[in-house]
């Protein structure tokens, strides 16, 4: 950490101590009453996480046959059923499972899977079929369709400096903020004040009006998010990693009673063509503990029952190991749902069958958009056909 960084971080803690107590008193009870439905926290594992080594089908001989080096021995797994066990580093998920806070969907994907990272991620972000190209995201289209509450520009927050396609609509978009204080400070440049004082573009039909509106929403949201970020300070210990920082930011915002409904964050490094055992061991430890800590934080403030966490990756990996100690790009994968009031817990559909493969890859059993549709319909309380453009059968996890 260089000196400037250090000052920045120490500055953050000292201002935090100065937030007047009356703000906390005012805001907290009000928001707990006002909050309805469920909020979503989406965790994206970028690079294509190997789901077969995350939740291992240890009874399936094909697993060990196709992965003589990479297969994880049955006795070191954290078993959750007669046939499946978590990777030993996924202690966090095992804990959540044991408490009934975790639902697992196996072989989630879409027809005609694409094995390119960016294209498959594009499909997960936009919710298109694999032969369609949408330029708006599934969450962004909730904003375009005026889903209740979405008039607030911070209705959807991505804990990052830039915004992912999932959060982009045609006319409205989510809000990207990695560090609320840094963002607010960046907007203290006098030019922003100047421009807005002299803003006469009140219509939003023209592109110029749209730009001025986006600017005004950016500055007001940055102030609002910053003020919220100072109300609740988490005392929990998150892993020292970008995902730990993001989930902590999200926990603090939720526990401060922010009116946002969707939170999005991503973690990279899952593209394990080489050194998979070592990489997964490290990443699983981090992501498992980060999510477990988030859950602790949410429970402490009574927010876990109305917060649904979804963990996904753009694809799983080839069943057969490659020659370099890793696996190549595959197709279907597990999706994890975490919540304090799940209606269906544990393993929700049959675990992947390695005897029926297509070109050496898993065949998807569940369309990922059924999970989206369920989150939109039963979580947010909004008509999923308005944002997914098609009707999908809903699931029962919430």
């Amino acid at each position: 950490m260089n000196r400037r960084r250090f000052i920045k971080y120490s500055g953050l803690t000292s201002t935090a101590a100065l937030v007047p107590g009356f703000i906390q008193a005012l805001v907290a009870p009000f928001n707990q009453l006002a909050f309805q439905g469920k909020r979503l926290v989406i965790v994206q594992l970028s690079g294509g996480n190997d789901g077969l080594n995350a939740l291992v089908p240890f009874r399936d001989d094909n697993y060990y046959k196709l992965r003589p080096k990479l297969g994880i021995k049955a006795d070191s797994l954290l078993k959750i059923s007669q046939e499946a066990g978590f990777h030993p580093a996924l202690q966090g998920f095992k804990q959540l499972f044991d408490k009934g806070y975790l639902s697992i969907y196996n072989s989630v994907g879409y027809p005609n899977p694409d094995r390119s990272h960016f294209r498959s991620m594009d499909i997960w972000h936009t919710g298109s079929n694999s032969d369609e190209y949408f330029n708006t995201g599934w969450i962004g289209r909730m904003l375009d369709a005026n889903c209740p509450g979405s008039e607030k520009p911070y209705y959807v927050i991505e804990a990052d400096d830039t915004l992912s396609l999932a959060m982009k609509g045609a006319d409205k978009s989510g809000f990207a903020v990695r560090d609320p204080e840094k963002l607010r400070n960046a907007l203290r440049d006098p030019i922003y004040d100047d421009i807005q004082k002299n803003n006469t573009h009140l219509e939003t039909q023209s592109q110029l009006g749209f730009l001025y509106k986006t600017l005004a929403e950016t500055t007001s949201s940055a102030d609002y998010i910053y003020s919220k970020s100072k109300i609740y300070q988490s005392t929990k210990l998150y892993p020292q990693h970008e995902i730990g920082k993001s989930l902590k930011e999200i926990a603090e915002l939720i526990n401060s009673g922010i009116e946002s409904k969707v939170f999005y964050t991503s973690m990279s490094g899952f593209d394990t063509h080489v050194r998979q055992l070592e990489t997964q061991n490290r990443l699983f430890g981090i992501v498992g503990s980060a999510i477990e800590t988030l859950v602790d934080d949410l429970i402490a403030s009574n927010n876990f029952n109305d917060t649904v966490i979804m963990v996904f990756s753009e694809f799983g990996r080839r069943v057969k190991q490659n020659a370099s100690g890793g696996t190549d790009h595959g197709t279907a994968n597990n999706v994890y749902i975490i919540n304090g009031a799940l209606k269906e817990q544990g393993i929700c559909n049959p675990i992947s069958d390695l005897t029926i493969l297509e070109d050496g890859d898993l065949i998807h059993q569940l369309d990922f958009r059924q999970i989206y549709a369920t989150l939109i319909e039963k979580g947010i309380g909004f008509d999923h056909t308005k944002t997914l453009m098609r009707k999908f059968e809903l699931l029962d996890f919430i």
């Binding site: 396609l165 023209s206 110029l208 986006t214």
Partner: protein, 464 residues
């Protein structure tokens, strides 16, 4: 009414990437107009002389480890090619060719990892950018990058792959609703065997080609891939679809269907001559109507190249520009998918707007570009992006001496208005100078510098 100066600036912004700092002598509109069309005659390839080119054949002979290493190097070369093209876009000559090629790159959007393929693809696009759309379509369809990106290399007689056949109709020519699913299925058969040889050139693999009879657009025959492309071009819908897209890009996102139809008829009857089409647009009166000025949001590339040209910026570490492109959502040779960049309001969210508005300041101050960059989905090795994000400081210099000269004759009290007229496309003044917080200057040149850096940060500057 707009002034002659505004008319010229509008023409230069739309037909190219804006006025160059080097154009100190103001020429008439006619002179500017003529040079838009005469300075493109000579086509020169973009070529990186020092870079290695590996053919597919050579790649196939390597071990997986060797191949992976080489592919990472090649991916880095694509980024060098990106910066080279960016530099060419920012040079004074041949602007219409580069602008047009930039449009075609978004139209025929491909994204592959082979460096030689990208190089060949972009030179084909640039070569035919101002010629006939028919030639461009035929040449791009046979580019290895295209055949690979849209899986036509996997399109074989016994296992057809419809990807290319579908996109050529849906996205490149006819548009949705002007063909049937059966047309696609049959066209895919006509494109079977269109592949690449070991030296990365187009090859019809005869043993993979389906020589049987096909029915496309109601006509039955023993059609080849070339025949299908000719049949597509023989349909007026193609002209209409392409012209509408050109109109949205070069004129106004809100399309005037009557104008598009007139232009499309002419384009169709003129054997798809692109230069003539562009001439019709830029010489029409409606192109200079206020509703068509300052109405579109600049793409990130237009913004970046425009700044470079206006201030004559030279970069010590141009790699940082890749990060800027990425953060703003448009990286040359890395389109989001085959449909290209959506454009318009899609460019803008809270993050990109503030990045755009802070960019000139960061450039002028050589400040850290403090934006965390998302994983590049094309970089297979996780370390590659981390390395790239350490190069975010934009070390560059503006050619202030030359820039000051432009306003040498301008009286100090007129500076704000004159500079706004020059730098912004909007016809009205954004802010009255007395409302600005920046007021005290010790010299005229420091005033010019402060004003210009302020003006190019305004929301108005995001428009063209």
């Amino acid at each position: 009414m707009i002034t002659e100066q505004q008319k010229i600036q509008h023409l230069l912004r739309r037909s190219g990437f804006g006025d160059s700092i080097k154009n100190l002598v103001s020429e008439s509109f006619e002179t500017n107009f003529n040079s838009v069309f005469t300075s493109n005659s000579k086509f020169e390839e973009i070529y990186l002389p020092d870079e290695e080119r590996i053919t597919t054949g050579e790649l196939l002979k390597m071990t997986p480890e060797e191949r992976k290493e080489i592919l990472d190097d090649l991916a880095a070369n694509i980024k060098k090619l990106n910066l080279e093209w960016l530099k060419i876009m920012g040079s004074a000559k041949g602007q219409l060719r580069e602008k047009m090629a930039f449009f075609w790159h978004g139209h025929f959007a491909v994204r592959v990892r082979g460096f030689a393929q990208v190089e060949s693809y972009i030179n084909t696009v640039r070569k035919y950018a101002l010629g006939n759309f028919s030639d461009l379509l035929m040449a791009v369809s046979k580019e290895p990058a295209m055949l690979r990106f849209l899986n036509n290399v996997q399109n074989k007689k016994n296992s057809p792959n419809e990807n290319f056949a579908r996109e050529v109709m849906e996205l490149f020519t006819l548009g949705r609703g002007n063909y049937s699913e059966n047309d696609i299925k049959e066209a895919a058969r006509a494109f079977t065997g269109w592949g690449i040889d070991e030296d990365d050139t187009f090859l019809l693999k005869e043993n993979q080609h389906d020589y049987g009879s096909k029915t496309i657009f109601g006509k039955t025959g023993n059609w080849s891939g070339e025949d299908v492309i000719k049949m597509i071009l023989a349909r007026k819908e193609t002209a209409l679809f392409v012209v509408r897209k050109i109109y949205r890009f070069f004129v106004n996102e809100n399309v005037d269907e009557n104008q598009v139809k007139l232009l499309a008829d002419k384009f169709f009857n003129d054997n798809y001559n692109i230069t003539n089409l562009m001439k019709s647009i830029f010489e029409s009166d409606w192109f200079y109507e206020p509703k068509n000025i300052s109405c579109n949001i600049k793409s990130p590339i237009e913004l970046l190249v425009g700044l470079n040209k206006t201030f004559g910026i030279s970069y010590d570490n141009p790699q940082a520009l890749l990060v800027v492109q990425r953060v703003l959502g448009q990286m040359l040779f890395f389109p989001p998918n085959v449909a290209g960049w959506a454009g318009g309001r899609n460019w803008i969210d809270n993050s990109t707007l503030i990045t755009r508005m802070n960019l000139p300041k960061r450039l002028a101050e050589a400040a850290d570009f403090e934006v965390a960059v998302k994983d590049d989905m094309n970089d297979e090795s996780p370390g590659a992006m981390r390395k790239a994000s350490n190069r975010n400081t934009l070390i560059c210099s503006f050619n202030w001496e030359l820039f000051y000269q432009r306003f040498q004759q301008t009286k100090e009290e007129d500076l704000w208005k004159t500079m706004c007229d020059y730098l912004l496309s909007s016809i009205n003044l954004p802010i009255e100078p007395e409302n600005l917080k920046i007021q005290k200057f010790d010299s005229k040149s420091s005033k010019i510098k402060a004003y210009s850096l302020y003006i190019v940060r305004l929301p108005e500057y995001q428009l063209t």
